[in-house]
């Protein structure tokens, strides 16, 4: 009757080929990573625009962006995902209908990326804004004094100069993005957490699959950490070590 123990010992259930569920888990992981990467990149684009808007935009833009970041950061991701998932696609389709186009069939994956991107965007806006502000203004003035155009100042001085201040925050957000994908289970996106639950439910070996998924998530985190440390070392070149 201890089927969680027998289940736990049933390693063959993790085989990559059916009837093993290993392949399903890995596919789920791939979906999770796709959503995380996509959402993160979308969030980064939103973040760059948001940060520039907050720093250099007019008063209206700044207030609108403030409303965006405050709202998104105050409401649980789970609720945002439900709201954006249903309302977002619904609104899009109504809009398509309005302009007379075919209703778009938005896949769960795309919706997931959109949702994670909007959430990430709010946080990344704040991280990037802080990093922008951490670049000493004198460095920008020096660049102007040497005849750089605004674009050159941004590309050659501001962006690389803010990197060391942005990397820790951005790294943290990446790790959050990988784990927030688990919340998409509630809208039925077949990411790692949902397929884990399906595998557990079908085979009754809950413990085994939760454990396996935990290991997969942890691996993603650990691998990310190694990469982050590299990036950080590169970004922090030229900064004295802090202890």
């Amino acid at each position: 009757m201890l089927d969680w123990i027998t289940g736990f010992a049933a390693w063959e259930l993790l085989a990559l080929e059916p009837p093993g569920w290993g392949g399903v888990l890995l596919r789920g992981l791939a979906v999770s990573l796709q959503v995380a990467v996509g959402g993160y990149i979308l969030g980064f684009l939103i973040g760059i625009c948001g940060a520039t808007g907050k720093l250099y935009g007019g008063p209206i833009l700044r207030d609108v962006l403030d409303v965006y970041t405050t709202l998104v950061r105050a409401v649980p991701e789970l609720v945002l995902i439900l709201l954006l998932y249903y309302a977002g696609t619904d609104a899009l389709n109504r809009f398509m209908a309005l302009i007379g186009a075919e209703p778009m069939n938005i896949s769960g994956l795309a919706a997931g990326i959109f949702v994670i991107g909007v959430v990430q965007g709010a946080y990344q806006t704040e991280v990037l804004r802080g990093a922008f502000m951490a670049v000493p203004f004198g460095q920008i003035e020096a660049a102007r004094a040497y005849g750089m155009s605004s674009l050159q100042v941004l590309r050659r001085i501001t962006l690389p100069g803010m990197l060391p201040h942005a990397v820790p925050g951005l790294a943290n957000l990446w790790l959050i993005a990988t784990k927030d994908t688990a919340l998409l289970a509630v809208v039925g996106v077949a990411e790692l957490t949902l397929v884990t639950r399906q595998a557990g439910g079908t085979t009754k070996s809950y413990f085994l699959f939760f454990f396996a998924a935990g290991v997969l998530y942890l691996t993603v985190t650990l691998v990310s950490n190694v990469a982050i440390r590299r990036i950080e070392r590169h970004a922090r070149r030229g900064m004295p070590a802090v202890r």
Partner: protein, 268 residues
């Protein structure tokens, strides 16, 4: 400027003054900091700008390369006047960005707080403007940078990041960065006041060296003794105008205005 003796490096063909400031006004909000300043520096001149704290020395220097936009007046570099137009709020703004960027490369500013780019090595800082603004080939820029580093005595710090240099070394690197654009005029804003007394010497030595070479320089400084030694013209700013100017010997030994007398008494 009517300096009697002209320094070594002046060549005959350059008849236009290196820097010409005409009727410069600058207002911050309510505060009128510059109330009509005019100044001419011929090629090879070394002009020291002195004055009390808050008298507008930095502001004047920063207006020359448009880091601060003047409220009124004109700036010419080597006879070329920077194009400006009213900004609609009672001030001026540059109307030709390309011209401004080009002129800025002919002026090099050395800041009080160095403002080296922290994410680049010393070499990277020096070749940045030549390569990315003026389009000098990288190899050539590096070769030239190495000569400059030798000149300011920093050859061994070539690949070090600024954060790992002492203040004096950072300021010398900043001077090398300024020299790398082969500027026609160098602007120094209190280049030694952020330094410990022991480090001041090394930087002043480099500047004195440049002066001997005949470079056109405008420098704001509190080091009266030094200004006296290297400058061939001294400008005393007070109350938003040039209160007195002239060759250092006369300014220092026989100040006419009462304000200048008081000022010299407090700093010496």
């Amino acid at each position: 400027m009517s300096s009697p003796h002209s320094a070594a490096g002046t060549s005959a063909r350059q008849s236009a003054p290196a820097v010409q400031v005409a009727d410069l006004h600058k207002t911050f909000g309510e505060l009128e900091v510059l109330k009509g300043v005019s100044l001419t520096a011929k090629t090879g001149d070394v002009v020291a700008i002195i004055g009390g704290s808050g008298s507008g020395k930095s502001t004047m220097l920063r207006c020359i390369n448009m880091l601060e936009l003047p409220t009124r007046g004109a700036i010419s570099i080597k006879g070329e006047t920077i194009d400006m137009q009213p900004d609609g709020r009672g001030g001026l703004r540059p109307s030709n960005t390309r011209q401004l960027q080009r002129i800025r490369t002919r002026l090099a500013m050395v800041f009080q707080s160095f403002n080296l780019w922290q994410h680049m090595t010393v070499l990277g800082n020096i070749i940045e403007a030549p390569v990315h603004v003026m389009g000098v080939p990288r190899d050539e820029a590096i070769a030239r940078a190495e000569k400059l580093l030798e000149r300011v005595g920093l050859s061994d710090k070539r690949d070090v990041y600024p954060a790992f240099l002492s203040g004096g070394q950072q300021q010398r690197a900043a001077i090398a960065r300024a020299l790398a654009v082969e500027p026609e005029v160098m602007l120094f804003d209190e280049p030694t006041s952020a330094l410990d007394p022991e480090l001041v010497g090394e930087v002043l030595a480099v500047i004195a060296d440049l002066a001997r070479e005949g470079r056109t320089m405008l420098l704001v400084t509190h080091e009266m003794k030094f200004a006296r030694e290297v400058a061939n013209h001294v400008v005393f700013l007070a109350g938003g105008v040039i209160e007195e100017e002239g060759p250092p010997d006369i300014i220092y030994s026989a100040p006419k205005s009462e304000r200048l007398q008081k000022f010299l008494a407090t700093v010496q």
